[in-house]
């Protein structure tokens, strides 16, 4: 550790103003702060700082994602060997999935971080941790067979138009990871929807339809059992099939206070209530689907736990969070049941509510101001 510190201290002058690598100072800064706690001290304004900075927040989310990620790797391998009719062991499955995921992870981080660094250099900003979580989220919400060049374009689109044009990390209006997925979904629909893409190297005879795909075409008898869907032994995007492992991540997020329980809870509540409403309506077989099925099919749980709770794009007020979460859940189920073009509504529901989040906050705050003004008037009069 000491040697590393000394090495960094020796190199530091080269990256300071006037040094020979002056232009790369943000790179150096990024490496240094990644390895050590920054020694910069606040000089003016507030001196009280929370120990939990952006780096810590991001790391916790990263850790919370790992259970679902490893399960996703296992699931890729398991489904592959299952479709080929071969038997396999736990480690075989994980190794196969790991080899499938690795290029996706490399492309996602490579393109994303590369662009972040370029923008940071041009703007003389520090390279920050903004892409740390997005870079892991993106591989988890795409199919295992996604062509890498498409992924690269989608990541570039998401980083540039989702984030950097608005001013970088923390300024984005919509969730960059979901934007990347939405871009893939609209630009190259053939590789991110349908029955063929969800299992790596699928044998032709094996049905690769996701539960949502089955539900959409009315094949409800083909739906897996509740246990299978909850555990995640189903085709789907890389990291989102297992509700159980996502809930483990949710527990990590909630226990550390990083994830917001109001949003998580209300997304599930909104989805469940919408499912029950459709049960009451009961006009077709999709509406009659038990409400809890919606929670465990597709990306609902993943979206609720990891996407909707993104603190930058969600609402900031407490009352706003309830409204925001509830509407996400409701709209997601609404799109699933009503729109035949989009089997999964979670992505679109979250992106839509991301855009409306500032509006919700605005009205919540206005409402609060009005309420307090009224109280003030009754006291003074």
């Amino acid at each position: 550790m000491k040697a590393l510190r000394n090495f960094l201290d020796n190199q530091k002058p080269h990256f300071k103003e006037g040094g020979k690598f002056e232009k790369l100072h943000s790179m150096f800064d990024a490496v240094e702060t990644l390895l050590f706690v920054p020694d910069t001290v606040t000089r003016k304004g507030s001196h009280i700082r929370d120990a939990i900075d952006m780096k810590r927040t991001m790391i916790v989310v990263f850790i919370a994602l790992l259970p679902a990620l490893f399960f996703g790797m296992w699931n890729i391998g398991n489904l592959h060997y299952l479709s080929a009719g071969e038997s396999s062991t736990l480690w075989n499955n994980i190794w196969y999935g790991f080899l499938k995921m690795l290029p996706i992870l490399i492309v996602s981080y490579g393109v994303g971080l590369g662009l972040e660094i370029i923008f940071a250099q041009i703007r003389h900003h520090e390279v920050n941790e903004g892409f740390f979580v997005s870079g892991l989220l993106i591989p988890m919400i795409v199919p295992p067979e996604i062509p890498l060049w498409q992924l690269a374009i989608a990541v570039a689109f998401a980083v540039i138009f989702g984030k950097e044009v608005f001013g970088g990390t923390g300024m984005n209006i919509v969730n960059p990871a979901l934007l990347a997925r939405a871009f893939l979904f609209f630009a190259y629909p053939g590789d991110i929807s349908g029955d063929k893409v969800w299992i790596a190297d699928k044998a032709d005879a094996f049905s690769g339809a996701t539960p949502l795909g089955n539900a959409l075409v009315g094949k409800f008898e083909n739906l897996p059992s509740v246990y299978d869907m909850f555990m995640g032994f189903i085709p789907g995007s890389n990291g989102e099939t297992s509700t159980l492992f996502i809930l483990i991540g949710a527990v990590i997020l909630l226990a550390t206070g990083i994830g917001n329980w109001r949003i998580m809870f209300t997304v599930f509540a909104g989805g469940y209530i919408m499912g029950l409403l459709f049960n009451l309506w009961g006009e077709n077989a999709y509406m009659d689907l038990p409400a809890h099925y919606h929670m465990i099919m597709g990306g609902f749980a993943f979206g609720a736990v990891f996407m909707a709770t993104d603190p930058v794009t969600a609402t900031q007020t407490k009352k706003g969070m309830y409204i925001y979460g509830f509407l996400i859940g409701m709209i997601a189920i609404l799109i699933r049941v009503f729109n035949p073009a989009y089997p999964e509504g979670m992505m679109l529901a979250i992106l839509l509510m991301n855009v409306f989040a500032p509006l919700i906050d605005h009205y919540v705050i206005e409402g609060n101001i009005k309420k307090r003004l009224k109280r003030l008037k009754t006291v003074t009069s």
């Binding site: 062509p147 060049w149 498409q150 138009f161 044009v165 609209f186 630009a187 190259y188 629909p189 590789d191």
Partner: protein, 218 residues
């Protein structure tokens, strides 16, 4: 901008040339004034309709600017908007008839958007702001300049949308077949209108990057 006392001004004086050039860059109707966005989104999925649209707007705008400029002194202010609309509508109908007669396919593709040139705010804006107060010759130049500024953006947007969205230009395939065999696919998103908006945004970005005086202080 009254030019009453300059009787013998040359036809292409610096001032007149400015009328022609400025709308192409620093006062571009789409990227700087942000007018006429709807049609820029609607007709730019393919290059051919975009070019036809651009030419139609040039004709409509140049002629209506001249006509209004000729009428400007005899026009009662209270009914000027209605007269302007009549002039524009006449021109649009003429252009539409010509297109239907000679370019039927493209006219089908553009469908209602030729008719909607009437509502294009750039045209009304120039009639009000320029033709009502200037002589026919500068008005002609101003009309052509602004319509060209509009058309150039339309064509740039359509170029990228058709190239990336359909792999063709003017309906000729330009992305080689071997690319597709390697797994390249056309970007379906480019054909949808959100990408037209983003493409216009990118053009604005590039223009402001090159031309710092366009950046507002805030």
């Amino acid at each position: 901008m009254s030019t009453e006392n300059k009787e013998r001004e040359p036809l292409f004086s610096a001032k007149n040339l400015k009328l022609l050039k400025e709308p192409l860059n620093i006062s571009n109707p789409i990227t700087v004034q942000v007018l006429g966005i709807c049609s820029a989104l609607a007709v730019t999925a393919k290059l051919k309709p975009a070019i036809v649209m651009a030419l139609s707007v040039v004709v409509v705008m140049a002629v209506s600017n001249v006509v209004i400029s000729l009428l400007r002194n005899g026009l009662p202010p209270r009914i000027r908007i209605i007269v302007q609309l009549v002039v524009i509508a006449t021109m649009v109908i003429l252009v539409n008839e010509v297109l239907e007669a000679f370019l039927f396919d493209v006219s089908r593709q553009l469908s209602v958007f030729i008719g909607l040139i009437i509502t294009n705010c750039i045209i009304m804006g120039r009639l009000e702001a320029f033709a009502m107060g200037n002589k026919p010759w500068p008005a002609l130049l101003d009309g052509i300049g602004n319509a060209m500024g509009y058309g150039v953006i339309l064509i740039i947007v359509a170029f990228f949308r058709e190239l990336l969205g359909s792999g063709t230009l003017m309906d000729y395939q330009v992305v080689p077949q071997s690319f597709y065999e390697f797994g390249y696919q056309n970007n379906g998103f480019m054909i949808l209108s959100p990408m037209a908006l983003i493409t216009v945004g990118v053009i604005i970005w590039v223009q402001r990057y090159k031309n710092r005086e366009l950046i507002e202080d805030n």
